[in-house]
Symmetry: D4
Subunit: 247 residues, 8 copies
């Protein structure tokens, strides 16, 4: 958009014709595959990997989108929510099975000093936590994993007070009653991204309990993403962790 | 029921007639006021106060029930969920305005050594907490009040670790995310009665958030009563606190 | 915490250095397995079995946690929500198939006189009831099982009035309309732990109907645990049943 | 509709013209007041009172509809959900304030031998119970009122076993956990119409708890009407009570 | 209970001892199988078949309960919610596969003149409709089946106005929007038992839409049973259809 | 947007400078009042009235927005959800009190031949119906009002079969069970816009019952707007009624 | 209905007997197959294909209904929600696998000039979109498919502003947050039919999130059909697209 | 906690006694007012204002807490959710009536360069937006207000593309369908804090619609706080805006 005036100047100078200018104004920053229109600009412009949400897409669709992105200059293409079955049908650079994430192209290295601290309430939250962790790592972050530190054994959490109080950004992941977010939010001085998980049974109602609990956190600095949305948390944490710039 | 054989023996010995026996078997252990059938047995038998749920009853109805209970030998009659307005229309022995509890007759003294420890997450939970506290006191318990010790400032709670670890029974009261129950449940070795409150707004959905959170507590030893049910928690805590007998 | 002064005295006396004291203050009462941080203190301190929640954990994870607990001195390790398939992959002391509970180490004997009375509304509630019953037994309690005594055939319940009125603690388990808790709560003079089950169909909404019904019980002394949470009920019942001490 | 052939015969015989026949076929069995189209046929045909739902209607609208029905030959017009304020603005034959029902015209006498038995769980259910009772009375039924016989004091209910077992039709009204319907359904051999009420607080969710509980009743012969729908229950009970004919 | 006086007279006359009388008063009208306590009185007393809810029971449990009932004198034992698989493992007199009902013993004939009219909104409601129909037939009723007469093609329903207006009791079964109950309720002068079904998708929320719709029916005389509860509707319809006595 | 090339041609021809072109490209088709940014283009371009949603706005805010729109050339400004109190504080051309709609400027006449047919299930639905009706009238449509034709008295609806079968577009408005939409949808050959209303009580859950019912309509051609959204229905009906052009 | 007078005239003239006339009046415009009563009139009268909802029907039932419709003169019979498995068991003219639609008889050609524009938020919405598209095509419409234009990449949507602003009717299909409908509704001047899909996870609650979002759209001209109801949207769009008549 | 070793060193050196050390270790970083335990450390340590949640507290309670904080060295005390009535009873430095925020002590100046960009979907969202804006300002941030830029008039939003694309952190506030968050999230490269509001009616269910919509946002970088939680959003935005340090 900041290029509009440049374009118009070129029209005035006759460098390009109005027809060409119109075409360029309409130039779609995406590839149209019919069933999908992957964005080819953001990644290239920002130098970060582009992401494909793998659920509900066939391996063929995933491959076509990945190819289109690669052709458009994308160095790394991340595919999330990718079942091991689908992954095995694709020729990827790497597949993280707990995180259910696959990668085409380069595996990026950390490009910023800060670290994303990821906590889980229990062992069953691991798949969501790893989705967040691998996402953050692939987006150039160091990650500190503190798993199974749920509030029912508060000493396990307090043993990590130092990591929590010194963090630049925290991801707190929990199912069941989701109390972890509030306790961590009270200890930390940094943004806490809360991820409710569908871990639990009965009145957990597939994560609703943890979701409501986290939304009602009386600790300040806590915000929430969708149930089991490890990717979203990892992405946002990376955004915050990169404030102040990359190395 | 253990008196059935006595009764039958009296029939055999001709002490009473079958007609009388049948009448006694049907003897109703309650007074029939038409609109209400207050129980006159339990209190007299157990020596504990009887309780009237004041919401949805007119002052006249409350008075009639209280009179019936008093006539049946009840020394103390507790009226819960009693608005100050209704209370002022009744000639009661005492009215606790924060707890919205009124009393007819004797104010009982503690009759057991243990203490009911009551914690709240915030200041707004006070009416529910006082309903629990006054109920427990009127049922013969000492009460320890630890208010505004919510988990978002975990140090406020940990400052009371000793009271929590030494308690015989605990009532944990919280609205919003209701995380207090889990943290307390993890610290305590005694039964924790969790009371969700309707304190909060938005996604607290009138206490639903705290309710679900408490039901999903990953701490063992925690059970839950209805939203804002301070009375129920106080009553149950008294029951547990009296195990082992009264002084 | 009561050991803090001891520790400080040792620092003053030069028995240990400040560095050592700090380390001990930070000593984690749990084993860090990375994916899990099992608590090794409570069980050893209290002499009761430690519990692993089996759902969402691999047999390997279960084994590692159990081994860690055993090494830390735990005599009995209970694994709940353990599928028969997983159980068969583990070398356990005993496996209760209806209750879906497995045990490593000693099977404890009752260590208290009282008895936990467990009632169910129907036959389909058995798995939850057995989870509660086996949990209570493994924690040292005698258990009285009264199954299929739902309120729609009230005479079946009333036939057990004596057991109910003499109980020290009761677990009332029911799906569908969950009315059992209220009727039992009205008959009993002891704490009643209500367990809603997901038994039912249609408007039972996976146990929601029974859950709400039990939370709204107009009988005093009733509290509620999560849907299908037989373990939680058994654990809490054991806590209450042990008040007054072990044999 | 059974008159179609009559009508057609009259057309063939020339008694009436096709035009007249068509008009009669289209004859609307209601009066069109613009804002309302009250049914004038059913009441006249069946000799039972017609009913106006008073909520959401102005006194003027109620009066116009009542007048239209009276003019159409209706001897009794019942107005339900009528606030005392609106009632005082109307010149009615009688107003039942607890039931919030007003009547224009004759107050009918019982015209059948059976009796509608109405039970409530508590005192706060009275307005709904009276709506049911007055409705049934105005439709020609004798009514037996058994109020405040909730299941938490099961002896109060069992004291009325005889009335319950001998009833032709029962209305069971309860809020909170709504367990009354199941227990009564188990005792009775006749249809039980369950009416959940919005009595309660917290997790009663304005009657949802009692509604779900009643829908899930494991007793056979129980069906449910809307929350607080005393009128609907009274109307249906009258229908069942009149099977076999009026006196 | 009406036999209490007889019993007491026998005690007085010395015909039986008080001990015997007490035992008889406690005589359980059910068989205790441990996992189940089937009622053996009602069926024998009323001469109607007893019913076993098959879901959640093993074939062995079903067989044991059926045997106990048969031994207690029951001529017909109905098993509902019985999968074809389980049925094939049992040696039953008859199995209705659409209705998923199995029968042990005699198949009863109609014993009353009236007919139960059953309507469905669509073809997919058939399993629920057949559960209701077969239940009603096995309880001694003639059944009129009017299937696929949903309100979106109102002429299909109006073609049966006569059956509807002349019915003694109607069962209206529909999923999706459940409007059938209201339209039928408006046409009929008899009790209408509405059965919401889980037929539909999306915002039908497994039958919730039809359930709410039916509960809110503005037609009088309509009551509702649980989602997909064909059995309950058939049972209640039989009760109503038998008012006035059997042939 | 179709003007982009024109603009660019003018840049090339030097008619306007690139700076001017950029400014024009950014020209905001709305007025920025700080608290509001009313759209001034659509109305002027299409010659239809612009609409202000009055709820949650102060009379001053409403007046400022209306003035801005009028200054921008708008001939008619409609304000919906306007309480009588607010309306009386504003100097409007006309106020429709049942519809709660106020108008500034010209009251438009019908400008198309078709008619919007509006049906309601009951009398209490009138405010929503009038909101729809007045909206449609102010947007240039003739409106046919058929009120209180709910399905529980199907003959009232069938008496209007002709209007329904000949309509170009229909608005079906109903609370409670919302069955009207399905029956009308089955009779009509035109689009039916269903409006659930919050009329009802208990399990109507503020319109949820009618909403779900309408969304699940098994009649084709039915779509749904928000609960009580008479305006939205009137607006959409006008859109459809104007297909084929204005007079 | 407009034929009633004709019929009556024939009765008067003796052309047909009253008995015949009555029979004709009762002539059912559907075929009664017992389990289904397919409508044979509408399609024949309007010349459009008739539709069978395939879910919950056996291949045999589908075939019988299709045969009945064909025999009644239907040229095209559409079967929706048809699994590939069922389709392969039927001898159909064509099967659309993504749309899960099968066709018997003629594949119609477009018979109107307008075009139905269909947009989806993502690739996973394709099955619903194709159900809508194929339905519209089979009902005689041209369809413009614009897939994967979700609002999170607003430029992809804006690239199609022209198609959107010139459309006669639009179908906006989206899962997750369902924001597409509002943005499109704001850009378009024609009716927008919003279809929420069950695409998503966690707090999308099987499409509830998108459904509520679309119902609350602040854009005028938007109405909503059931979750995943591509057929309903295609049918309604065709209705609107045919206003003004067929070619 | 980092002071533990210092403390221990002092014990060793005899500077302080073990008793003193223990007391200091237990020193509560809050003031105990009985009904409240305000945190006095965080504010003083970090130099930011402390915040009191005003809802559910009496003016007297607010005053006592504020005094305690002031005495503890707090320069600015913010009171949120403060009704004008309560505010007028308190002697505050400043009261923001739209934001319902009151301040004791200094009004801070911006202490960082970045700016918090706040967008709202409509005018009715202003109270929530101002709560966020005033909170952010009082915590030392510059705020850019872009109100009434809802997606139904996408040009209003696109006119601010530059502010959105250059922002360091954005707060997107919307009720009804809550689509604003997704569109903004797609345009922005910075964290977007989404605040659902209870603005709307009917199926907005008091903000549930916007909440679910925002949680399901398909744009990356979006997280959500509680319904109407302007304060929480302002606080978190300030946290993010201060990353990199204060001026």
């Amino acid at each position: 958009m900041s290029d509009i005036r440049d374009l118009l100047e070129k029209v005035r100078s006759g460098e390009i014709s109005p027809e060409e200018a119109e075409a360029q104004l309409k130039l779609k920053p995406f590839v149209d595959l019919g069933f999908a229109k992957p964005d080819t600009h953001r990644g290239v412009r920002q130098g970060v990997p582009e992401v494909i949400y793998g659920a509900g897409k066939t391996p063929e669709q995933i491959k076509q989108i990945a190819d289109a992105l690669t052709e458009a200059g994308q160095k790394t293409v991340i595919v999330t929510r990718l079942d091991a079955d689908k992954a095995s049908a694709l020729d990827m650079t790497k597949y993280y099975d707990v995180a259910r994430i696959g990668v085409y192209g380069e595996i990026p290295s950390p490009d910023t000093d800060g670290s994303v601290v990821i906590l889980t309430g229990g062992t069953s939250d691991l798949p969501v936590a790893e989705e967040a962790a691998v996402t953050a790592e692939l987006l150039g972050n160091n990650v500190t994993r503190l798993y199974d530190v749920g509030v029912a054994g508060i000493h396990r959490l307090l043993a990590h007070t130092e990591e929590i109080m010194n963090a630049k950004v925290i991801i707190a992941i929990a199912g069941m009653e989701g109390a972890l977010a509030s306790v961590v939010g009270g200890l930390a001085d940094c943004p806490v991204i809360a991820v409710p998980t569908s871990v639990g049974y009965g009145a957990s109602f597939e994560g609703l309990s943890a979701l409501l609990s986290m939304l009602n956190s009386c600790a300040s600095g806590v915000s929430v993403v969708n149930i089991d949305n490890g990717f979203g948390a990892g992405y946002l944490a990376s955004m915050i962790n990169h404030i102040g710039g990359k190395n």
